[in-house]
């Protein structure tokens, strides 16, 4: 996907600069962009390391376990195909907690582990069950305490209030998650019904035909 996207960016910008007569600006932009990327990385590094350090303290001091304990009843209700004490559920809780703390590097391996455990007990292994889908949707939402990359970018861009976005980010990401979960539940009920009906009529049709 990125192959196509990157190619598109370069071709479109070339064509567009021909159209707008900015071909000279474009040639300096490529070099300036590469330069800017390195400056950006350096400018972001401090804030990002600060927060990943703080979140590691949270993890080591057991705050993660407390969050996981609070979340586990909610997650169990959302993913009813797995027991609270199952390996799958433990990996799910650990993954969601890592996401909330913004530990991206820890969250992805835990998420993959959770998917593998869930797949082991999947009754129809060719397609994800409703719990697996819900889990992936949880991971496509971005509920986290500190959006540290964004804060770092804002700091690098000279913002006087890099953290002014915290409350809007919490509200928006939580709202998005709520809509995603609700949509998943409605769609799962619908596809479940369709499948049940399909089984019945399909069977009858076969027998009659």
């Amino acid at each position: 996907m990125l192959n196509v996207l990157w190619f598109g960016m370069i071709i479109v910008s070339f064509l567009c600069s021909l159209l707008t007569g900015r071909i000279e600006a474009l040639s300096s932009a490529a070099a300036a962009g590469a330069d800017k990327a390195i400056q950006l990385l350096i400018a972001m590094a401090g804030v990002m390391c600060l927060w990943s350090g703080m979140m590691r303290i949270a993890q080591q001091s057991g705050l993660t376990k407390i969050i996981a304990r609070v979340l586990s009843p909610v997650l169990c209700r959302l993913m009813p195909d797995y027991d609270r004490d199952s390996k799958a559920m433990q990996a799910v809780c650990a993954n969601v907690t890592a996401n909330i703390l913004g530990l991206g590097n820890a969250a992805t391996p835990l998420g993959i582990l959770a998917m593998k455990e869930m797949q082991k007990e999947n009754l129809h292994p060719a397609q994800p069950n409703r719990s697996m889908i819900l889990f992936v949707i949880l991971n496509t939402a971005s509920v986290q305490i500190i959006p540290s990359t964004i804060a770092a970018l804002r700091q690098a861009a000279g913002s006087t209030q890099p953290y002014a976005i915290l409350v809007p980010v919490w509200l928006s990401s939580f709202g998005a998650l709520a809509v995603g979960v609700t949509a998943a539940m409605c769609l799962s009920r619908r596809s479940g019904k369709q499948r049940a009906i399909g089984h019945k009529t399909g069977g009858r049709l076969l027998r009659n035909g």
Binding site: S13, S17, A29, A30, C49, A141, I145, L153, A157
Partner: protein, 164 residues
């Protein structure tokens, strides 16, 4: 923000954690993750800077501004909204361009930050997680996730408008 820091440190002391060692280990992790995104960030910042210099973004927002005005969504944020679900580095590059152009503390700058902070790289996550267990069918994952992303983006503009 300082409240969160103090809270974490106090909790750490209370639980007798080796505060500074943990902090250093985590900060190192931060450097490692920056190092790992650096190559793709360089490539995508180049791409976004070229698009911006070519006048593409202003053309797109000009075309879209009638529709956007009608639904109250700033046209300047549409390219970021399209980029966000596909690539993390690309959307950070885009956010950086927006912050430079409009100012980090302007309405557009804040709304763009909230947009990028409250959604995820949906398509990437779907690919990684289903790919890890070899599932090709995703059933209704994409519609639900895209609906969530769109909600997040509209809420981002809405909440910034209400709260500032």
């Amino acid at each position: 923000m300082p409240v969160i820091m103090v809270g974490i440190v106090l909790f750490g002391i209370w639980r007798k954690t080796a505060l500074f060692d943990s902090f250093a280990a985590g900060a190192k992790e931060g450097l490692v993750s920056l190092w790992s995104i650096a190559p793709s960030l360089i490539g995508l910042v180049v791409g976004v800077t070229m698009l911006e210099a070519s006048g593409f973004f202003s053309l797109v927002s000009e075309w879209l501004s009638p529709i956007c005005q009608w639904c109250g969504f700033p046209a300047e944020l549409v390219p970021l909204g399209l980029m966000r679900p596909v690539t993390g580095s690309g959307s950070f590059a885009m956010l950086n361009t927006i912050l430079e152009q409009y100012g980090a503390d302007s309405f557009i700058g804040k709304a763009a930050s909230v947009m990028a902070g409250s959604t995820e790289t949906t398509f990437y996550a779907v690919t990684v997680y289903y790919g890890a267990v070899g599932l090709k069918k995703t059933r209704y994952t994409i519609p639900a996730a895209v609906l969530a992303d769109m909600t997040g983006m509209l809420l981002a503009v809405g909440t910034v408008r209400w709260l500032s």
